[in-house]
């Protein structure tokens, strides 16, 4: 199948994200949703339920404002709006990870306002390198596991969890493979398409996703081999932050002459790496996967790992600069920003911060900043 057709299938999913979840529900399967980020989908899957992400991509906020102050990020606001509107009524449960103060407070609001019978708050250690972190997290995963068993009525055995881990690892590996091909041959598919494929994985059945993804990788490889002209005039960029929303931001980056070749986004690389060790006890493997994820403002440590991570990422991807995509009112990102900017500045890495909102595609000023940034790092616009 041609690349376009394969991409269309992922696109269709992202345009109508919950059709798979709804049809699962109709067939009698339990459906458990999760908010970004870091909820171990494998546990949901191993309990025989269908895991589905809720990324809050909803633009007209009418109901959520009654419950939230102005300084709540648009990601949480959008998700709650969808909940209040009844868009997520098919869910048998919702797991809310605690990434920040906002998510912590959201759990209570969801419990009071939503009809979803099971709402869980998944608490991850913030200081991932503390010696107590691992033991604590295994305990928390055990708690989550038994709750999921109760909700679904299915036992999660080591075997079933192992099988789920294998399936999800495969998905991550394939996604990383696709990303590598894109970074080596930018332009085969657009930056937005790359990230749409990743986003689709959050809504789809993984077996199905893996199947189409395999075909896509094949098609990309063939196209790469055919194209003689390896040079790509686009400016290579890394993006850093939570979610790449609104999706139009990806188009803007490309229109301004850039291409995204690396990231640390929740709806990007942070979703894809690392794998869970298939040879270990599955709960321990899930805990280790969480603790070894690439650094994010919500879970960092005092060793300034994220500074080094971003610096290395830019070098390793041969990017000319880094763009922070920060959601307005995202406190972890906003607090860390100065530190990250300093680190990049002292490494001589040009960087730009754009403040975005989920569901708000008015990007006029952002366009100017992006273009000016790419004019700045991309060499002389005349030549």
């Amino acid at each position: 199948m041609a690349i376009k057709e394969l991409l269309n299938r992922f696109n269709a999913v992202v345009t109508d994200p919950y059709s798979e979840a709804r049809s699962r529900k109709e067939q009698g399967q339990k459906v458990i949703g999760w908010l970004p980020t870091d909820v171990p989908e494998e546990l949901i899957h191993a309990a025989g339920a269908f895991p589905v992400g809720s990324l809050g991509s909803c633009s007209k906020i009418r109901l959520a404002d009654t419950h939230l102050q102005v300084w709540v990020c648009s990601l949480m606001r959008g998700s709650l709006e969808m909940g209040l509107r009844g868009d997520l009524d098919f869910l048998d449960g919702l797991i809310i990870p605690q990434t920040c103060d906002t998510t912590r407070a959201m759990v209570g609001i969801w419990r009071q306002t939503s009809l979803i019978p099971y709402i869980d708050s998944f608490m991850m250690p913030k200081q991932v390198k503390r010696s107590s972190a691992r033991e604590y997290l295994i305990g928390e995963l055990t708690r989550l596991k038994s709750n999921l068993e109760k909700v679904t009525g299915n036992l999660i055995t080591n075997e079933s969890l192992g099988t789920s881990i294998k399936l999800f690892n495969e998905n991550r590996q394939l996604l990383r493979r696709m990303f590598e091909i894109h970074a080596d041959h930018p332009g085969l598919i657009s930056s937005r398409e790359v990230y749409t494929v990743i986003k689709a994985a959050m809504y789809m059945d993984k077996v199905k996703h893996n199947g189409i993804l395999q075909d896509l990788i094949q098609a990309m490889k063939q196209k790469a081999a055919r194209s003689i002209d390896k040079s790509n005039p686009k400016v290579r960029l890394v993006i850093s932050g939570g979610v790449w929303e609104p999706p139009e931001i990806m188009d803007l980056i490309e229109e301004a002459g850039g291409v995204v070749v690396g990231d640390d986004m929740l709806t990007g690389m942070r979703y894809l790496s690392p794998d869970a060790d298939e040879k270990r006890d599955p709960l321990e493997a899930l805990a280790d996967r969480q603790l070894n994820k690439i650094p994010f403002a919500g879970f960092d440590n005092q060793n300034y790992e994220r500074r080094r991570f971003l610096h290395n990422l830019v070098r390793h991807t041969e990017a000319a600069g880094l763009i922070f995509l920060h959601l307005k009112f995202c406190e972890p990102e906003n607090y860390d920003y100065n530190d990250m900017r300093e680190a990049l500045n002292s490494a001589g890495i040009p960087n730009l911060r754009l403040e975005t909102e989920v569901g708000n595609p008015s990007l006029g000023q952002i366009r100017t900043r992006l273009e000016a940034f790419i004019e700045m790092i991309g060499g002389d616009p005349i030549e």
Partner: protein
């Protein structure tokens, strides 16, 4: 050889025509109505005295927020890049440019050739921009041009919080209601804007010398407040609003030369 730079801003549109690197004509006009129409009109007005037409221009570069809608431009370049070029041409030793436009304010770092090395820009909100001054002038029933000189007359400026244009406006209205002196309110407004812009600039490694461009540069009260905070004298170009169009024209000239040279 003639080339042109056109800068369509949110409030004013500007054009600069260069003839062999010398400014042959320049123009500032209010942006009103359709950008297509205003682009043509401003060019006609600039070119007619020179006895030439659009077709005689070897290259045209458009900049400013309306740059994508200029129908005859050969290339669009952001105002940030253009302000760098334009400033360096006029003042080669400037390393930091403060641009205060109608809808946004910016800080731009440039090297000796006028190439941008870093920049910051205010957020969507109009606080700290020309638009903010306009709103305040309206609320106080003072002519916009009189705001700056008025600010200089105050000895005890009012404290104005400036997180948001709408809040600040109602604060100003209540100060008026309390019978506070207009000059003190005006001075307070200028301090607040200067504080906001200074906060933005601090995100850059500010290096001297510093120039101020855009409509805001014409406001002596604002320039004065910024100088106080920056601890140095600001370079104010004779025509601060034209720097962007001038930079665009310089880029047009480079493009034309580049083509000629093969």
């Amino acid at each position: 050889m003639y080339v042109a730079g056109i800068d369509i801003g949110s409030i004013y549109s500007k054009a600069v025509i260069l003839k062999n690197n010398q400014v042959a004509a320049s123009l500032v006009k209010r942006t009103g109505g359709e950008i297509r129409t205003i682009s043509h009109r401003i060019m006609d007005e600039a070119l007619t005295p020179l006895g030439i037409q659009l077709e005689d221009l070897k290259s045209i570069v458009a900049t400013g927020y309306g740059r994508i809608s200029v129908p005859f431009a050969e290339k669009q370049v952001t105002e940030i890049t253009c302000f760098g070029r334009g400033t360096a041409q006029l003042f080669p030793d400037v390393r930091t440019v403060i641009d205060i436009g109608g809808q946004d304010s910016k800080g731009i770092k440039i090297d000796e050739r006028g190439r941008v090395t870093d920049f910051v820009m205010n957020d969507k909100c109009a606080a700290g921009t020309g638009r903010f001054l306009e709103v305040m002038a309206n609320a106080l029933e003072v002519n916009l041009e009189d705001m700056g000189p008025l600010a200089l007359q105050s000895e005890s400026p009012e404290e104005i919080g400036i997180t948001c244009t709408v809040f600040a406006e109602s604060q100003v209205i209540s100060l008026v209601g309390e019978g506070r002196r207009k000059v003190d309110i005006v001075a307070g407004i200028h301090q607040a804007i200067a504080e906001r812009i200074y906060g933005l600039l601090k995100m850059l490694k500010i290096e001297e010398r510093i120039a101020i461009t855009g409509g805001g540069a014409k406001n002596i009260g604002l320039v004065h407040e910024l100088e106080k905070r920056l601890g140095t004298e600001l370079i104010v170009p004779e025509e601060p609003q034209l720097i962007g169009a001038h930079g665009a024209a310089l880029m047009a000239m480079e493009m034309a030369m580049h083509r000629k040279g093969g």
